[in-house]
């Protein structure tokens, strides 16, 4: 009897399925390990600029991959609107009195994710102005729309002190066309010619 019990016990040991962890098993043909995957979701915002497509000609928006993020070059400009510049221009209404405006369209592409609200704004501010004697200043389309400006009167100076709201409640991922330019005043004096640059900072806020 004892002998038979021993044989039975050994037989049961041999035939029984033994799983030693989720990764291994014996006396069976299947095993099922598990993988726990964790992640922490963060909200994110993105605002990119690109060359416009609305106006007749376009000054290129060039990403630098560094600082500043993008550049746009209006080329050679003058207060009488004689030079063509790199894209579009409005000659002064009264040469020698009013300003010439060299301008281009450009695109803003706001994207945001995992935000609890979708309301948002995009603002623009001149954070580094042209150097003195300030015979150049940055202008934008007064309408804050994608309608191509019809004249110099359609432009407004971009503020250097506060941020101007230029887009409100854009859908995430939607392209917003706007217009930007440089106004050239007919001022005369020292330092009014030569290469000059300014920096405009665009800010997307979702809240």
């Amino acid at each position: 009897m004892k002998k038979y019990f021993t044989i039975f016990a050994l037989g049961m040991m041999a035939l029984s399925t033994a799983a030693f962890a989720g990764t291994t098993a014996t006396n069976t043909n299947t095993v099922s390990p598990t993988l726990q995957i964790s992640a922490t979701v963060q909200s994110a915002v993105q605002l990119t600029l690109s060359t416009g497509t609305a106006a007749v000609t376009h000054c290129a928006v060039t990403p630098t991959g560094g600082t500043p993020d993008y550049t746009m070059n209006f080329g050679t400009v003058d207060a009488l609107g004689i030079n063509a510049g790199n894209c579009n221009k409005f000659a002064p209404t009264t040469p020698g009195v009013s300003n010439a405006i060299y301008w281009s369209d450009y695109n803003l592409n706001p994207v945001f994710t995992s935000q609890t609200v979708s309301t948002n704004t995009i603002t623009a501010q001149v954070t580094t102005d042209f150097a003195a004697p300030n015979n150049l200043f940055i202008v934008r389309d007064s309408a804050n729309s994608s309608t191509v400006p019809a004249s110099a009167a359609a432009f407004t100076a971009v503020s250097t002190a506060t941020a101007d709201t230029i887009v409100t409640n854009a859908a995430s991922g939607s392209t917003q066309t706007r217009f930007i330019g440089v106004a050239v005043t007919p001022a005369n004096g020292a330092g009014v010619t030569g290469a000059k640059s300014a920096t405009v900072t665009f800010t997307l806020t979702v809240q």
């Binding site: 030693f20 098993a25 299947t30 095993v31 993988l35 995957i37 979708s118």
Partner: protein, 384 residues
């Protein structure tokens, strides 16, 4: 249990003839009986005399137990074994997992005594009755000159009496006890030669006085008691990090952390790349599936996976699978019945590189989510 076998010297029995004919049957039977009695007296009452050598095989501390049997045998067993070295081996047996199987080893002792100085004794062994499934179990031996604790100390034991395996190398040892090793290599052995069940084998050990080159004793170890060697099939599936991929942490069973993610794919952490996807982005990482299986008729296995525990925010975070880093990434099934098949040709001990994608929605609004979340994938490997 110790076994002692004494010298059985070959004695040339006289051939008795009369007048060129064999003697009568009655006289022959009487003479035979006398001869048998004489031989028996020599065998059982006197230790080896010519060299006075004795040869004892016994269990070693920590080794398998042997039962003494008649006719100078020791009997024991290695018990249950498998090619992956899974589980705790039988008492006295140690398992050494290898890249192509598992080596189960034990130790036993050999004692030589009674040799006159300066005689030395050497010992050889061979498998006199091999396993009936030689592709599934391979007898191995470790000589007294090794520690017999590593696979490299062991080699296949000879199956040929005329070319036995050295156990105690010549010129041998004087009267002393040495510990040697006995092993059984269980290879993965899938395919037509696969085997599961019980098998047995027997080993003959021979002691030789190397001074006069005479064998002075034999012993036999039978690996058949009380059952023998039981080969079980075995399966294993592990996950491991791939080069350039996320860390996979062993736990219960494995874990992987994608870290901070967002719907735009900004700043993927080390080991991650992003792939564009409609409605969000996929964070992707390569990883390795490492299947292993032994003693199966089939040489290939099927591996499937499904999301056994979904993210708490299952529309924002979705697990996807791809065969290539660039995709396409497809949602992994969320039930066992809809599990995603990764392969049906997984080969034994052949790693598979696969890509796990974590889709992150770019949605906004009240239903969006920021924070930590987790899900569980269950991988199932089946060898048909």
């Amino acid at each position: 249990m110790r076994f002692r076998e004494y010298d059985l010297r070959r004695t040339h029995l006289p051939v008795v003839k009369s007048g060129g004919k064999v003697c009568s049957a009655s006289f022959g039977r009487l003479l035979s009986a006398l001869i048998i009695l004489a031989v028996a007296a020599i065998a059982f009452t006197k230790p080896a005399t010519a060299q006075n050598g004795t040869f004892t095989v016994s269990a070693a501390p920590g080794g398998i137990a042997f039962a003494g049997g008649g006719g100078g045998t020791l009997s024991g067993q290695f018990g249950a074994m498998n090619a992956l070295g899974i589980g705790t081996p039988s008492a006295g047996v140690t398992v050494i997992p290898l890249s192509n199987g598992a080596l189960y080893i034990t130790h036993y002792q050999i004692t030589i005594s009674g040799l006159p100085n300066p005689h030395l004794g050497a010992v050889t062994a061979f498998v006199n009755s091999n396993f009936t499934h030689p592709a599934a179990l391979i007898m191995q031996s470790c000589p007294s000159s090794s520690t017999c604790n590593a696979s490299g100390n062991f080699s296949a034991m000879s199956l040929i009496a005329g070319a036995p395996t050295t156990v105690v190398a010549a010129p041998g040892i004087n009267n002393q006890t040495v510990t040697v090793g006995l092993g059984i290599f269980v290879p993965d052995n899938n395919g037509a030669s696969s085997f599961t069940g019980v098998d047995t084998a027997r080993i003959t050990l021979t002691a030789t006085d190397t001074t006069n080159n005479k064998n002075f004793a034999n012993a036999e170890i039978r690996l058949d008691t009380p059952v023998g060697e039981t080969i079980q099939n075995a399966v294993r599936l592990t996950l491991a990090p791939a080069t350039g991929g996320l860390t996979i942490t062993p736990g219960a069973d494995f874990s992987m952390n994608f870290g901070n993610v967002n719907g735009l794919g900004f700043g993927p952490g080390a080991g991650l790349t992003t792939v564009a996807a409609a409605g969000g982005v996929v964070y992707s990482t390569p990883y390795l599936l490492q299947p292993a299986f032994g003693a199966f008729r089939s040489t290939t296995a099927t591996i499937k996976t499904f999301v056994s525990t979904t993210f708490a925010h299952p529309t924002i975070l979705i697990l996807r699978d791809a065969a290539a880093s660039g995709g396409p990434y497809n949602n992994i099934g969320t039930t066992a019945g809809t599990a995603t098949q990764i392969t049906n040709t997984a080969a034994d001990r052949s790693s598979i590189t696969r890509f796990l994608g974590l889709f992150v929605s770019n949605g906004n609004g009240a239903t969006t989510f920021q924070g930590s979340d987790s899900a569980t994938l269950t991988f199932t490997m089946t060898v048909p």
